[in-house]
C-alpha cells in the first residue's frame, strides 16, 4: 500500500520541488545580474498558461509521440532513483539501467524535433548529441570507478555504503577527483552555461524548442522540472551520500543546484567543439586518474 502511494505521489512531489527549483534559479540569476526577477512560482504560471493554449501546432505523429516519450521516459527514470523512503524499483534496475533510460527522453525529443523539419531544431539536437559525447564519457567513468570501489552497480547499495561511513564516507570526500569530474560533467548534463549550446537562444532560436508551442512546450517544461531533480539526485546519491530524510534531501538539492547556478551565472557560452574538447581534456583525465587510484 505504501509503495502504491509512493508511486502515485512521487512524481507530483518531485514536480513541485523541480518547479520551485527552476523558479529559484531564475530569481538567483536575476539577483546576480542586479534585476528583481520573476516571483519564485512563475514557472507554475508558465506551465498553466501553456497547457491552456487554444492552438497547438503539430508536424506529425512522431512529433506527438515524442512529447509522450519525453515525459514518460523521465518518469521512468524517476522511479529507479532511490529517494529517502522509497527505493522499491531499485531492485529491478541498477545504475547502468538508469544511465541508459536517461537517454530515452533525449532520443524521443530528438525524433520529434527532427520531424518538425526546422533546421534550428536539428542543429540543436546535433549539438545536444555532441555534448552527450562530451559529458557522458567522464560521468560514466566516475560511476564505473565508484561501482568498482564498492563492488556494486546498485545505486541503493552505494548510498548505504556511503552513509555507513558518515560524512567521511561520502564519495566526494573519499574520491575527490571522481567527485569533481562528475560535478563538471553534471554541469554539461543539465545544459547550464558554459555548456548551453543546444538551446542557445541568440543563435538558433532555442534549438529543439523552436517549433514547440502550447501544450507541447508545457509538457517540455514539466519534464524539465522533473529532469533537473533527477539528474541532481543521481549526483547526490553517487557522491554526496544520498539523504536520510526529505529535509536533508531538499537542502542538498538546493545547495548543489546553487553551486552549478553560480558557475552558470558568470560564464558565457562555449562553442560546441570547445565544450566537447573541454570535457575530454579536464574531467575525463581527472576521472581516469581517479580510477587508476582505485585500481592501485
Amino acid at each position: 500500500m505504501n509503495t502504491v502511494l509512493w508511486i502515485i505521489f512521487l512524481p507530483i512531489i518531485i514536480f513541485i520541488i523541480g518547479t520551485f527549483m527552476l523558479g529559484y534559479s531564475r530569481k538567483f540569476i536575476a539577483r546576480i545580474e542586479r534585476r528583481y526577477g520573476p516571483p519564485i512560482q512563475q514557472v507554475f504560471y508558465d506551465i498553466f498558461k501553456l497547457m491552456n493554449k487554444k492552438t497547438n501546432i503539430s508536424h506529425g505523429w512522431m512529433h506527438d509521440i515524442a512529447i509522450l516519450m519525453l515525459l514518460g521516459g523521465t518518469l521512468l527514470t524517476l522511479y529507479f532513483i532511490p529517494v529517502p523512503g522509497f527505493h522499491f524499483f531499485a531492485q529491478y534496475g541498477d545504475m547502468l539501467v538508469i544511465m541508459y533510460i536517461l537517454l530515452i527522453p533525449a532520443l524521443g525529443m530528438a525524433l520529434g524535433v527532427g520531424e518538425t523539419a526546422n533546421p534550428n531544431g536539428s542543429i540543436g539536437i546535433s549539438r545536444a548529441l555532441m555534448m552527450l559525447a562530451g559529458y557522458d564519457i567522464p560521468f560514466f567513468l566516475t560511476f564505473i570507478g565508484m561501482a568498482m570501489l564498492n563492488q556494486t552497480t546498485s545505486m541503493y547499495e552505494l548510498i548505504n555504503i556511503q552513509q555507513a561511513g558518515g560524512f567521511f564516507g561520502w564519495g566526494l570526500i573519499t574520491n575527490p577527483l571522481l567527485g569533481v569530474a562528475a560535478l563538471i560533467a553534471l554541469q554539461g548534463m543539465l545544459g547550464e552555461k558554459p555548456f548551453e549550446v543546444m538551446v542557445a537562444p541568440h543563435e538558433i532560436a532555442t534549438g529543439p524548442m523552436t517549433e514547440m508551442g502550447g501544450k507541447y512546450l508545457g509538457i517540455m517544461m514539466i519534464q524539465h522540472a522533473i529532469a533537473v531533480v533527477v539528474e541532481l539526485t543521481i549526483y547526490i546519491n553517487l557522491f554526496l551520500g544520498g539523504a536520510l530524510n526529505w529535509f536533508e534531501y531538499i537542502i542538498k538539492l538546493f545547495v548543489l543546484f546553487t553551486v552549478l547556478l553560480s558557475v552558470n551565472a558568470v560564464f558565457g557560452r562555449f562553442r560546441t567543439d570547445d565544450a566537447v574538447r573541454f570535457m575530454w581534456k579536464i574531467p575525463l583525465p581527472m576521472a581516469v586518474i581517479g580510477v587508476l587510484f582505485i585500481i592501485f
Binding site: M62, F89, A117, N118, S122, L132, I137, K215, I219
Partner: protein, 618 residues
C-alpha cells in the same frame, strides 16, 4: 536421414537447381523460398538430435571426419537459416526485374551451404573445406550488384585468402602436434602442450578468425565490401556472415582450448592473452563506430557498425566470466535482428527512392511510416537503449567488465555506445526526418512482402528485449556444454544478486509513464497538424523552392575535435605501414632482374638445395 545431411543436401540442391534453371523465374522465386523455409524448419528441429554425430563415408589420413550437432551450432544454425528465409522473402519484390537475379539465389544457397558446413563440422578438415566454400561464396556475393562491387570484393578476397592460409597452417600444425583432426581429441590432448606452443597455436586460429570477423586492424575490407553489393546482400552479410568468425572464436577459445588453458597464458600480472584480445576488441568498438559518424551513405554507415558491434561480442567473451560470455553470445542474436532490420529499412528506402545517400534524402516518415518504425526499432536496439534487445546484452557486458575489474574496457564499451547513438540519429534524421524534398512527393510505402520480414524482426527485437530469458535458456545450455558457469537468469533478465535486471518491470513502467504523459497531453486542447512549410523561419516565408533543412555535415563540430587525433594516429600509422611495405617490396623486386642468366642461377641453386635436403631426409 539425419538432419545434418538433410540441411546440407537441401542447400546444395538449391545451388544445383538455380544453376540448371537459371532462366526460370519460378525456381528463382518460389522453389528457392520453399527450400529456405525447409532449411529453417529442419534447423529448428535440430534440438531433438543434439549430441548426435554424422560421419562422411570416407577417411582422410586414416581418420573419420564429419559433423556433430551441439547447442552452440544449433544456436548458429537457427540464426543462419532464419535470416536467410527473411532475406529471401524480402528479395521477392526487391530483386524483381534487377539484372543480378540470375546468380542471386545460387550464391545465396552456396553461402548458406558453406556456413552450415562450417558451424556443424566436428573436425578441422571439414571445418577448413567448408570455410573455403564460405569465403568463396562471400566473394561471389560481394562482387554482384553495382560497378564498384568487384573491386571491393577483390579487397576482401586478399584478406580471405590470407585468413585461409593462416588457418591452413593451424590445421596442419594441430595435426602434427595431436595426430588427429577431431575437435574432441584435440581438446583432450591440449593440456599436454607446452605453454608457448599453446599460445602460438591459439594465436594462429584467433588471428585467422579475427580477419573474418573484422577485428580492428583487419577490418578494412568490410565497409566497402558490404556496402557496394545489393542491399539485401548487405543485410545478409552484416547480419550473419561476419559472425561466423565469432563462432570460430567461441569454439576455439572455449570449446577446444578451454578457458583454463587460455588463462595460463599470462604475460605480466593482469595482462594475459584475454586482456590483449579485449584491448583489440575495445579498439574495434571505438574506432569504427566513430568512423561511422563521417559516412554520407546509409549502407556504408551501417557497415561500419557491423565492424563496431563485433567488438562488443568479443569483449564479452574476453571478460571470461559467466555474465560476460553470455552477454557476448546473446549479443550475436540481438545484433543479427536489429542490424538486419535496419538494413531492410534502408533497402526499402533505396527501393523507392533509388538512393542511399544521406545528403539527398529526408522527411520520408510521412510517406513510409512502416519503414520508419522498422528503422526506429532497429536503431534503439543498435544504440542499446531499453526496452529493445540490444540493451540487455550490452548491460551484461558492461556489468561483467565492471565487476571483474576492467574499468577501461568498460568505458570503451560506453564510448562505443555513445558513438553509436550519434551516428544512428544521423541515419534516421537524414533519411526520415527533416524536410521532404519535392521529388519524393509521390513515394509510397513498400509492399507487404517487404514489410513482412520487417514486422517479424520488429517483434523479435522488442520481444527479446522484454523477455531475454527466451534466448538465455539456449545460451545457458551452450555455456554448460562448453563447461562454463551459468548466469542465474529468469524470463525477464537476471534473477538474483544485487543490481539485478528486470526488463518487464522497466518496460511496464515505461508504458505507465507514457500513459501518464498521454493523460497530461489530453488535458490540453486538440492539436492541429500543419505541413512542413508552415514553420518558423525568422519572418521569412517558406515554399518548395526554399531549401530549409539541416543534414549536410551533421556532426561537423565533433569532427573538428576528433580529426587531429584521427590524422595523427591512424593516418600516420597507415603511412608507416605503406612505407614499410614499399621498402620491403623494393628489395623483393630486385630478385627479378629480368635477365635469363640470373633466373638460371636461381633454378640451379634451388635444385642443389633440394638435393642436399633430400639427402639428409633420406
Amino acid at each position: 536421414m539425419s538432419i545434418v545431411s538433410g540441411l546440407l543436401l537441401i542447400a546444395l540442391a538449391g545451388v544445383i537447381l538455380n544453376v540448371l534453371f537459371y532462366k526460370s523465374k519460378i525456381v528463382q522465386k518460389y522453389v528457392s523460398l520453399l527450400l529456405f523455409a525447409v532449411l529453417a524448419y529442419l534447423s529448428f528441429n535440430m534440438y531433438k538430435q543434439v549430441g548426435s554425430h554424422f560421419s562422411i563415408p570416407f577417411l582422410i589420413a586414416g581418420q573419420s571426419i564429419g559433423f556433430t550437432i551441439t547447442w552452440l551450432n544449433y544456436y548458429f544454425a537457427l540464426m543462419i537459416t532464419g535470416i536467410t528465409l527473411l532475406t529471401a522473402i524480402f528479395s521477392l519484390k526487391y530483386m524483381e526485374g534487377k539484372e543480378g537475379i540470375v546468380h542471386y539465389y545460387t550464391v545465396l544457397f552456396m553461402k548458406t551451404f558453406g556456413m552450415l558446413g562450417v558451424i556443424l563440422s566436428s573436425d578441422l578438415i571439414t571445418f577448413f573445406v567448408f570455410w573455403e566454400i564460405m569465403s568463396w561464396s562471400t566473394f561471389s556475393l560481394m562482387s554482384t550488384g553495382g560497378k564498384e562491387a568487384p573491386k571491393s570484393a577483390l579487397k576482401y578476397f586478399i584478406f580471405a585468402v590470407t585468413a585461409s592460409m593462416i588457418l591452413m597452417v593451424g590445421v596442419v600444425l594441430s595435426y602434427s602436434l595431436f595426430g588427429s583432426f577431431d575437435f574432441a581429441v584435440i581438446h583432450s590432448k591440449i593440456d599436454s602442450l607446452s605453454l608457448p606452443m599453446t599460445g602460438f597455436l591459439l594465436s594462429i586460429f584467433i588471428v585467422s578468425f579475427s580477419i573474418e570477423s573484422a577485428v580492428f586492424p583487419m577490418h578494412s575490407w568490410l565497409p566497402e565490401g558490404y556496402s557496394n553489393t545489393f542491399t539485401t546482400f548487405t543485410a545478409y552479410l552484416t547480419g550473419i556472415s561476419t559472425r561466423i568468425g565469432i563462432y570460430g572464436i567461441i569454439l576455439f577459445l572455449f570449446g577446444i582450448f578451454g578457458i583454463q588453458t587460455v588463462d595460463k597464458l599470462v604475460i605480466l600480472g593482469k595482462i594475459n592473452f584475454r586482456y590483449i584480445f579485449g584491448v583489440f576488441a575495445a579498439l574495434t568498438m571505438i574506432i569504427p563506430t566513430f568512423t561511422a559518424l563521417y559516412q554520407h551513405d546509409a549502407k556504408k554507415l551501417i557497415a561500419w557498425h557491423s565492424v563496431g558491434q563485433g567488438g562488443y561480442m568479443l569483449i564479452g567473451l574476453a571478460s571470461a566470466n559467466a555474465l560476460g560470455i553470455s552477454g557476448g553470445i546473446l549479443h550475436i542474436i540481438n545484433y543479427l535482428t536489429y542490424q538486419v532490420l535496419i538494413v531492410f529499412a534502408i533497402a526499402s528506402v533505396e527501393y523507392r527512392t533509388g538512393t542511399t545517400n544521406l545528403n539527398k534524402l529526408g522527411g520520408l516518415i510521412k510517406k513510409m511510416p512502416v519503414s520508419y518504425l522498422a528503422l526506429l526499432f532497429g536503431i534503439i536496439g543498435l544504440a542499446g537503449l531499453p526496452p529493445m534487445n540490444g540493451f540487455v546484452s550490452k548491460w551484461f557486458i558492461y556489468k561483467a567488465l565492471i565487476m571483474s575489474g576492467y574499468p577501461f574496457l568498460a568505458i570503451a564499451a560506453v564510448i562505443g555506445t555513445i558513438g553509436t547513438i550519434l551516428s544512428v540519429y544521423k541515419l534516421i534524421h537524414n533519411m526520415f526526418l527533416g524536410q521532404l524534398p519535392e521529388r519524393y512527393n509521390d513515394i509510397k510505402e513498400v509492399s507487404f512482402s517487404m514489410q513482412l520480414p520487417m514486422w517479424i524482426l520488429m517483434i523479435v527485437v522488442f520481444g527479446l528485449g522484454v523477455y531475454p530469458g527466451l534466448a538465455m535458456g539456449l545460451i545457458a545450455k551452450i555455456q554448460t556444454s562448453l563447461g562454463l558457469a551459468v548466469v542465474p537468469y529468469s524470463l525477464h533478465g537476471i534473477a538474483s544478486g544485487s543490481g539485478q535486471l528486470n526488463m518487464l518491470v522497466i518496460t511496464a513502467l515505461f508504458m505507465g509513464g507514457l500513459a501518464v504523459a498521454w493523460i497530461i497531453y489530453l488535458l490540453g486542447s486538440r492539436r492541429k497538424h500543419v505541413n512542413q512549410y508552415n514553420n518558423y523561419a525568422g519572418g521569412h516565408f517558406l515554399n518548395k523552392d526554399v531549401a530549409y533543412n539541416f543534414n549536410y555535415e551533421f556532426y561537423a563540430a565533433i569532427e573538428h575535435v576528433i580529426d587531429p587525433y584521427r590524422k595523427k594516429i591512424i593516418e600516420r600509422t597507415e603511412r608507416g605501414i605503406i612505407g614499410l611495405v614499399d621498402a620491403v617490396s623494393e628489395y623483393v623486386r630486385r630478385i627479378y632482374t629480368g635477365m635469363i642468366n640470373t633466373y638460371a642461377i636461381y633454378i640451379l641453386t634451388a635444385f642443389v638445395i633440394t638435393i642436399i635436403f633430400l639427402k639428409e631426409l633420406i
